[in-house]
Symmetry: C2
DNA sequence: CTGGGAACATACCTGAGCGGTATCGGCGGC
DNA sequence: GCCGCCGATACCGCTCAGGTATGTTCCCAG
């Protein structure tokens, strides 16, 4: 199977319409019909049900759609990584991606320690939105990431644990509970008039009453405005913001900061960075 | 990047010789040279160093080699899975892969329980050699596997734990220790004249003195012949073989049998099988 | 019932590009 | 210095991807 065929099939499977798919691909409709027919003939069965009033996927078509998307992602990642390794532009060394506003202290220490290592290369830091680190690694835009289990999935990645910590509730300082010295998980279920923050996890937002946020600034600002609370790793206390207080939650699940990288990564610079991180 | 280009590049990168690579690909050498040059031009940098006395990989070439192999594997898997879903031959339902000779009892119970479920499909069982389950899943020849942590890696797979158990030492019944009622890990380091069995793990055999085995029959036979001992999960005691004895090893690391399947699997039949397994 | 239109398939043509043969250029060994 | 090995280049033919025109089928309007 050629990637061209996969791209064509994905376009048709997503549009469920040959002419629209052809337009999206920048080709005419007949060659697209022919390419799909050839693909079906080669795979030995129908992928699409043609109803003369649109198109639907067969079971095999659904399988191929999922597989083809994954395969195209892998190929795009391969191209990006190779192009980055090719030294065509400025040789950026390593790209590290981390949630903006998280693990600031750990990240600083890591970068300092690594820069002090003999033979270390330049590390470009990409501070992304919440939950974007995994995709950045997988699609080849980054070499290494800081993730936070159990929020971020490490499926399909290699990783090393760096730091495990408890969590604190982050509340508006105007809130009646802001003077408490500690909380329990059960308390959080019914904070008077304060819903939990929601952020992307596993590709989308969970259902619930609270506001949706994409990054830490939104999060702190919404808390300061008294619109929600959040449960964050202890290290968030190092962040000083106006209008918020942090209170330990004794029985909150622990959060582990991990350093993660794509499987079958063979870079010496990456290995050195990971080694430095685990020794912090 | 087309898969044809990736196949060509992998062939050259593995052979480090254009003419041999061309022969392996079944084409002539000049088109191969041209294809690689085009690929290099498109990626914006050299992948190979031509020394007129053979070929070596550049850093970018090493990156692309690893990435291209992974991408080609994903594409092969996509094709196999689609072809299996295409119903061209007998519709085998699900293919479950497990180490031959391991988890026999669990497997029997699982298959019986699943067959009794309403709406269950036929399950083909593929009993493979030690350490072959992961590859079978990843390359699309199987839908679901029974693995044994920590021996088998679940990297890149989704999984559910089924059963955790201790381990037993399997010794020749002629061995002086065969009458002992229990052992400790420290004892095993110096069993008089009996090396530990070695089996494939992580793609190859570890170094060591013991004999190498690929499947359970070899293993039991070599133990009965007094050539090695093995450390196996307790459930192996259910296997009755001549000439061997099993002795609990009190402080051996625990082994967890897990059911695993490819990420982004969307099959309802698979979900039902996994649900059945976790309820056993 | 019939004409029109929407949508995919078919027919046929053209040209890009893949693969083949012949040959060149560079380098190391004898 | 000649020969042999190996990759690059030149050139050619043919396959096949992509374009245009048209066919076939079905739905729907009137």
């Amino acid at each position: 199977m050629e990637t061209r065929e996969l791209r064509y099939f994905v376009a048709v499977a997503e549009e469920l319409h040959f002419s629209r798919a052809a337009a999206r691909l920048g080709i005419a409709q007949p060659p697209l019909s022919r390419a799909i027919s050839q693909l079906e003939r080669r795979l030995g069965g129908a992928l699409l049900e043609r109803n003369s009033r649109g198109v639907t996927l067969t079971d095999a078509g659904r399988v191929l759609l999922a597989e083809a998307r994954a395969a195209l992602d892998v190929i795009d990642a391969a191209e990006r990584r190779t192009r980055r390794a090719t030294g065509d532009g400025a040789e950026p060394g390593l790209v590290l991606v981390s949630k903006a506003g998280a693990s600031t202290e750990l990240l600083t220490k890591l970068l300092d320690a690594y820069a002090a290592e003999p033979g270390s290369v330049k590390v470009e830091v990409d501070l992304c939105g919440i939950g974007q680190q995994g995709p950045r690694l997988r699609d080849g835009r980054a070499d290494v990431a800081l993730l936070h289990r159990p929020f971020d999935s490490v499926d399909g990645l290699d990783s090393e644990d760096l730091l495990t910590e408890g969590q604190v509730a982050v509340l508006p300082s105007s809130h009646p509970w802001s003077t408490r010295s500690q909380l329990r998980m059960a308390d959080l279920d019914d904070i008077p008039g304060l819903p939990p923050m929601r952020w992307p996890s596993g590709g989308g937002y969970a259902d619930g009453p609270g506001p949706e946020v994409r990054d830490s600034m939104q999060l702190y600002q919404l808390i300061a405005l008294g619109r929600a609370y959040a449960l964050l790793p202890e290290s968030a206390r190092a962040e000083q913001h106006h209008g918020i207080v942090t209170i330990p939650v004794l029985d909150a699940p622990e959060v582990t900061t991990v350093i993660a990288w794509p499987q079958h990564s063979r870079s010496l610079a990456l290995a050195a960075l990971v080694r430095t991180a685990t020794r912090l």
